[in-house]
C-alpha cells in the first residue's frame, strides 16, 4: 500500500490555519518574489500553479495567491503522526519521503485478519482526519509491488483509493502514458522511444534482454520487466551513504569570508546530523551554483576520517578553494560521504589534537542538545542563527532517519 499526502505542506498549512482553506496558496522556503513554490495547494494547482513556479509567476496567474513560509518542525510532526497511524496496521512501514510511505502487508495478514486492504485504506484515511486534522487528505494505492502501488495512488488525486491487480492491470496500462510510471521522466521516455516503446503496453510487451542491454543498459531494465508484471524487484530499505546540507543564498556572494561563514554553518548542520547518527566520514563534496547559471562541484576522499566541526570545515574549505573562478554563488551545498560508524574508525596513534577536537565536538553537541541549537558556536558563526535555516529535503528516503533521531 502506497500512501501519499496530497499537496502535503500546503494541506498542513491549511489544516493549521483555517483562513487559508479553499484559497490558492503555497509554501515557499523564503519570502522573496524569486522564491520557488515547493508545495502549491490543491486550489492553486487547479489554477495551473505548479511546484517549481516562482512566487512572482504565481502572483501573475493569481493575484490573491497566499505564500506561507515553510515550517519544517510542523511537517516533521505530521510525518511522525501519520507514521504512528501506519504502525497500527503493519510493522513494515517504509517512509519514501516526508509525505509518502509504503506499507507492506505481505507478511502481516494476522494483524489485519480477514479485512480487505481497501477497508484498511479507508480506515487510514479516516484516522488521518481524526488524529491529524479534518483538512488532511491522502491518496492511497494498493497493488502487488511498490511501483504499481505508487502508480495506483496517482490515478485519482486528491483523496483517491485505487487498486491495481490482475483484473485491471491491462486497462490501467492502456489508459496511462509512459511518464505516468514512477521513475520514468522525459529522458527515459526518449530512450524508450528510440527502441519503439511509445506506450505503457509497448513497455509491457518489451523483451527483457532488450530492456536490460539496450534501453536501460543495466540490471534496472530487468527490474522494470519484473515490476511491470506485478512482482517486486526494488529494495525496500535504503542504506544511508552521506550527510549533507544545502543553502540557497538570499544574496549571491563571491566574498570568500562570507562563503566561509555559510560553509561553516552548513558543515555544522550536516556534522551534527552525522555525529548524532554515530558516523564519521572520509569524503567531502562541495557544489556551487552561480548566478550565471553555471555549476561547479568537487568531491574528494581523504585518508583520515572527519568527525568534529573543525575537521569537516577545514576539508570543506580545502575543496571550495579548488574553484577555478570565484563567482557569485547562489546555491551552496556540502555533503560528507564514505561514512562509517565511529566505533569502526581507525584510531589515531599520535594526534592528540584531533582526539581533543572530537571530545570538544561531543561536548558542544551535548550543550546544544540541552540548551537549544546555537547556544555554543564557533565565533565564525556568530549572528548567523537566522541564516541557513532548517529545511525539508525532497525526493529521497536517505534523510528520513533524521526525523527519528
Amino acid at each position: 500500500m502506497h500512501v501519499d499526502l496530497n499537496s502535503c505542506f500546503a494541506t498542513i498549512e491549511q489544516q493549521a490555519n483555517p483562513l487559508l482553506r479553499g484559497k490558492p496558496m503555497g509554501v515557499v522556503p523564503f519570502m522573496s518574489p524569486s522564491a520557488v513554490i515547493i508545495a502549491p495547494s490543491i486550489e492553486a494547482k487547479a489554477l495551473g500553479i505548479k511546484t517549481g513556479f516562482t512566487l512572482r509567476d504565481a502572483k501573475i496567474l493569481c493575484k490573491g495567491f497566499v505564500a506561507k513560509l515553510a515550517d519544517p518542525r510542523k511537517y516533521r510532526d505530521v510525518h511522525m503522526k501519520f507514521r504512528n497511524i501506519f504502525k497500527d496496521y503493519t510493522p513494515e512501514v517504509y517512509p519514501k519521503s516526508i509525505d509518502e510511505a509504503i506499507l507492506d502487508f505481505s507478511r502481516t495478514k494476522l494483524i489485519y485478519g480477514n479485512r480487505s486492504l481497501s477497508d484498511i485504506g479507508m480506515e487510514i484515511k479516516q484516522r488521518m482526519k481524526e488524529d491529524i486534522g479534518e483538512w488532511i487528505v491522502c491518496s492511497i494505492g494498493i497493488s502487488t509491488n511498490m511501483m504499481l502501488a505508487k502508480l495506483a495512488a496517482g490515478l485519482h488525486k486528491p483523496d483517491g483509493l485505487d487498486i491495481i491487480d490482475h483484473t485491471n492491470i491491462l486497462d490501467v496500462y492502456k489508459s496511462i502514458k509512459l511518464t505516468d510510471f514512477p521513475g520514468i521522466a522525459e529522458r527515459y521516455q526518449s530512450r524508450l522511444n528510440v527502441y519503439r516503446i511509445f506506450s505503457a503496453m509497448d513497455f509491457l510487451k518489451a523483451d527483457k534482454e532488450m530492456l536490460q542491454k539496450n534501453v536501460f543498459k543495466s540490471v534496472v531494465g530487468g527490474w522494470w520487466y519484473t515490476k511491470l508484471r506485478g512482482f517486486e524487484s526494488d529494495p525496500f530499505e535504503y542504506e544511508r551513504g552521506s550527510f549533507g546540507r544545502q543553502y540557497a543564498m538570499k544574496e549571491a556572494t563571491d566574498d570568500p569570508k562570507k562563503l566561509a561563514a555559510k560553509l561553516m554553518k552548513l558543515c555544522e548542520g550536516a556534522g551534527r546530523k552525522m555525529r548524532k547518527a554515530g558516523y564519521c566520514a572520509y569524503g567531502v563534496h562541495i557544489a556551487c551554483e552561480y548566478t550565471d547559471h553555471t555549476y561547479w562541484h568537487k568531491g574528494h576522499k581523504f585518508h583520515t576520517e572527519m568527525y568534529s566541526l573543525m575537521e569537516l570545515f577545514q576539508k570543506a574549505m580545502l575543496m571550495i578553494n579548488y574553484q577555478p573562478q570565484w563567482k557569485p554563488v547562489r546555491m551552496l551545498s556540502v555533503s560528507f560521504f564514505d561514512i562509517i560508524p565511529c566505533e569502526k574508525a581507525q584510531l589515531t596513534l599520535f594526534d592528540i589534537f584531533d582526539t581533543k577536537q572530537r571530545a570538544i565536538a561531543d561536548v558542544m553537541d551535548q550543550v546544544n542538545d540541552k540548551y537549544g541549537e546555537y547556544t555554543l558556536i564557533p565565533s565564525l558563526m556568530m549572528n548567523m542563527q537566522d541564516e541557513a535555516v532548517d529545511r525539508i529535503p525532497f525526493g529521497g528516503a536517505s534523510f528520513i532517519e533524521d526525523l527519528y533521531s
Binding site: 498542513i12 489544516q15 493549521a16 490555519n17 483555517p18 483562513l19 487559508l20 484559497k23 502572483k59 493575484k63 490573491g64 495567491f65 497566499v66 505564500a67 506561507k68 513560509l69 518542525r73 510542523k74 510532526d77 505530521v78 481524526e130 491529524i132 486534522g133 546544544n368 542538545d369 540541552k370 540548551y371 537549544g372 541549537e373 547556544t375
Partner: protein, 89 residues
C-alpha cells in the same frame, strides 16, 4: 497577511478529554495588548524541543484572525508568535 509578533500574552486554556477520549488542550481566550480575542478553532497543535525544554505550538483561529501561540512548558508562559488574516500581502 502574516505578521510576526513574539509578545507575551495572557491565556485561558481548557484541558479536557474529547468525545473520542483524546486528551486535548485548547486555548479559549487570549489577552494581547489589552484586548481579548476569543478562539474558536484549534488548527494544528504540535510540539518541539528547544534544548531540554518542550515547547507547544498552538495554531488557532477565530472567524477573522489566525494566531500562532507558543507555550513554554518550563516557564508555563504563553507567547503570541504571529497573527494573520489569511490574505495575500
Amino acid at each position: 497577511m502574516l505578521q510576526e509578533i513574539h509578545e507575551k500574552v495572557e491565556a485561558i486554556v481548557k484541558y479536557y478529554y474529547s468525545e473520542k477520549g483524546k486528551f486535548t488542550i485548547m486555548p479559549l481566550k487570549i489577552r494581547w495588548r489589552g484586548r481579548e480575542h476569543i478562539i474558536t478553532k484549534l488548527g494544528y497543535p504540535h510540539k518541539y524541543k528547544d534544548g531540554r525544554i518542550t515547547m507547544f505550538i498552538f495554531e488557532v483561529s477565530n472567524k477573522s484572525t489566525w494566531f500562532r501561540l507558543k507555550h513554554n512548558t518550563e516557564t508555563l508562559t504563553w507567547e503570541l508568535e504571529a497573527v494573520s488574516d489569511g490574505n495575500a500581502t
